[in-house]
Symmetry: C2
Subunit: 484 residues, 2 copies
């Protein structure tokens, strides 16, 4: 039996059933975004709970969508970590905003694949427009050409493939076999995706060299210079430097303005990982933090992090797009076509041939918020982060473990006379208590070998009330943990 119509046709869900269920789902979504704050952030499940609640084998006959939607509500939702919750402070807090959700709904229905211009002209051209709007908002020069990928991991992989193409013109045909070793440099706080990209590209882990950071967790340019010089003396080629603007651990911003000329002097490509920090450049008083990034060869900014766009949406800007195309362009006959005029074939800018219509949601987000709305929201997130920082600073039992340039506060419960080892244990207990309470969700990192709690403020529904409640919860959890 299928749907309310009782039809046993094996075809698609009839349009009228899709309309009825679409309305039900639209209501569910509106209720969800209005009330997600009442749910536990981290679910009350142990590994295997969700899997065991579902049949081990697929259905032989089709089932009704009503049954599937009921299981979604009863089994899936209670097993979800609610990233769209105002008390989600883990990893990087993000928002699936209303305009973005509407964009994803429409993209799914159109289901276009903008691999070449003619496979969807509007999707291709809207991607050009939306990425160019974002470029203007963050204040990058107009020779940066943008494309949208799924993740920063892939954007960085593609950028470093272009860097490899420049460092080794022979690689395109002959590969890395027999070529002199090369290296990519990033700070010890760079994202793991940089090392993954380097490994994927065939450089091996020894093709990746981490550079020590200063007291503010920023890449030390003297150490970078020394590393490149040492490597060059040993016959190792500097291929690329990857400064981060907003590291995952602490949101530190590498001094990209100093790094660019250093990298240039050694012939290295500069790829800036601004996946998290990029949108901060839209806010006038924060823009100086990113100063110098306009000198890079490529930059990744993820609207699905701090720009209210549902995941996935990662924009890769490249001022040498011809190199990116050279690294990836292979045009098989079945995709060859001759268009009149200037067309962009998005498949030429990376590995992925298939491409969802991701520009639509980004365009909706940029239109709804406008520059003013983006500035106001990012500014508020930074204010909330600094507020929490000020409370922790004022408490002798807590320390702020890193500067707070953007929306992340790194905290550690460290009362006077508590040993570092004991404090590590206590902070782990605090983390477990907070997450186990379901009232808020945090993640952690290690700084100087010590466990630190990360509080990322980035969801649009997060208000001062949520941050104050978290601060209470942290102190209660600390009291409980130390009295255990």
């Amino acid at each position: 039996m299928k749907g309310a119509s009782g039809s046993i046709s094996p075809g698609d869900l009839p349009a009228e059933d899709l309309r009825r269920l679409g309305h039900e789902v639209a209501d569910w979504i509106a209720d969800y975004v209005a009330s997600v704050g009442d749910l536990r952030v981290f679910p009350d499940v142990v590994p295997g709970d969700v899997r065991r609640s579902l049949p081990a084998a697929p259905p032989e006959a089709g089932e009704s969508m009503e049954a599937a939607l009921a299981d979604f509500r009863d089994i899936i939702v209670p097993g979800v970590t609610h990233w769209n919750h105002p008390a989600f402070f883990g990893y990087f807090a993000i928002t699936g905003s209303g305009p973005g959700i509407l964009g994803e709904m429409l993209s799914a229905a159109l289901n276009v694949n903008a691999m070449v211009w003619r496979s969807s002209p509007a999707a291709t051209e809207l991607e050009e427009v939306a990425t160019d709007w974002l470029r203007q908002l963050v204040g990058l020069p107009d020779d940066f050409d943008g494309v949208i990928n799924d993740t920063a991991s892939h954007s960085t992989l593609y950028a470093l493939a272009a860097a490899r193409e420049v460092a080794y013109p022979e690689v395109h045909d002959g590969g890395l076999f027999g070529l002199p070793r090369g290296r990519v440099y990033a700070s010890e706080h760079a994202h793991s995706s940089v090392e993954k990209a380097v490994m994927t590209l065939g450089f091996g882990r020894s093709g990746y060299r981490t550079i020590p950071s200063d007291d503010a967790f920023r890449m030390r340019t003297d150490a970078l210079e020394a590393a490149m010089e040492e490597d060059e003396a040993a016959g190792i080629r500097p291929v690329a430097v990857v400064p981060t603007l907003g590291t995952t651990s602490v949101t530190s911003l590498d001094p990209v303005g100093e790094i660019v000329p250093l990298a240039r002097a050694h012939g290295a490509w500069v790829h800036v990982d601004a996946a998290y920090g990029g949108p901060a450049a839209i806010v006038p008083e924060l823009r100086p933090l990113l100063s110098g990034w306009e000198g890079a060869d490529s930059i990744v900014i993820n609207p699905h992090k701090w720009l209210f766009t549902p995941t996935d949406c990662s924009t890769l800007y490249c001022r040498r797009p011809g190199v990116l195309v050279r690294a990836f362009s292979l045009i098989p006959e079945y995709l060859r076509s001759t268009e009149q005029g200037d067309v962009k074939n998005l498949m030429d800018y990376g590995v992925a041939l298939g491409r969802r219509f991701r520009a639509l949601k980004l365009w909706f987000v940029l239109r709804w918020f406008g520059r003013d709305g983006i500035v106001a929201n990012i500014r508020e997130h930074v204010r909330l982060a600094r507020l929490l920082e000020s409370w922790a600073d004022a408490s002798e039992d807590w320390e702020v473990a890193a500067p707070v340039p953007l929306g992340l506060v790194c905290l550690r419960h460290a009362p006077p006379r508590m040993s570092d080892e004991r404090a590590d244990d206590i902070n782990q207990l605090i983390l477990d208590r907070v997450n186990g309470s379901g009232k808020a969700f945090l993640s952690h990192t290690k700084l100087h070998g010590r466990l630190v709690l990360r509080v990322a403020v980035g969801n649009l529904k997060t208000t001062e009330r949520h941050v104050a409640a978290l601060w209470d919860l942290l102190r209660e959890s600390a009291a409980a943990a130390t009295s255990d």
Copy 2:
């Protein structure tokens, strides 16, 4: 001014506006899927039309979502190539089915990122369940472990990274520098993404060797064996063989049962590209076409191609998932967590750290259709393709340029006494006329150097009436082209 509420808050779209607009969008989607067949398939635009219709600069103040949705309807939709149209026969015809659309709506609202188990237990475990259901449906052994990626291009890249890890244990640390050359083999009809993956991994274009095919466009195993032997004699290591089950040009199926033991004998990994053809294994009478694929090391199947799931959804099955993990697993502190029990951290299986909740739409699709519904629909697509083949066979002015094992017909207008060169020109004119008419959309390929029209049947709304109308349109276009 914002929304109907007139609020000037810079925050997210209020929930009640999201509800109202969600209903509007749900209606638009239902109307769209009900009536997309009345639209032009390929839009009446030239390059730049869409871009020029949009403001060159982003808005300073936020706009209403009503305005954005109006522009979507008035500017974007008329510029889209309608992949969800029943007369879309280009590339591979696909379907954004109703259940899949509902799944994408919900995924966008939840906005979870299942990079590790705890970042969303239900998304991680539903991915395990849905990929295992699909494994059972296609009849693969239970030691194949599945993960969902965005595209087959990335799935293949990851599989070949695992193959590289096996062929060169040293690559993990030292990279390819100084190692003996290696090669990946695929038929001359393999997808371009295989060569892109090989280049990305640092093998260069010379690390990719195409193997000639037989009369049915299937990889010649004698030529494969000779190539591997020749390469080995020259000190080149066979790293992987990539048979295709359903090539993009002609949907030929390489003899994977013969290829597997050959590859094994030379120590090469076997990665099967069943991105298009995989779902055919769900249909009993088609399953023998894929016989032998169960011996492979890894297999990619794209539910977003012939399994009615909105793009993007590519499942990568690997029977040596430990190798895949070894190639990609790098766990930074901020993602480290100790779960009790057996948890899967999806980020360990590829480059992309961020992961949308793609399993939800696939699960909805498998539940709605069930095995029976999938079988009935794929069977009908194959019947329609063979019907068109029979019509062309019966016409002395048309030739069927390749066997029709699945849902694709390769046609060429080639009346008696027309030269090959003239026929190439005529077929190009036919292609341009068909696509320019807006009544149907085709793509092309070249076989034996000659232009061939591809008719891919794969959309759920495509019926015999649409195929018959296309056949009329092809003949009318041929008559018009030859009389010009």
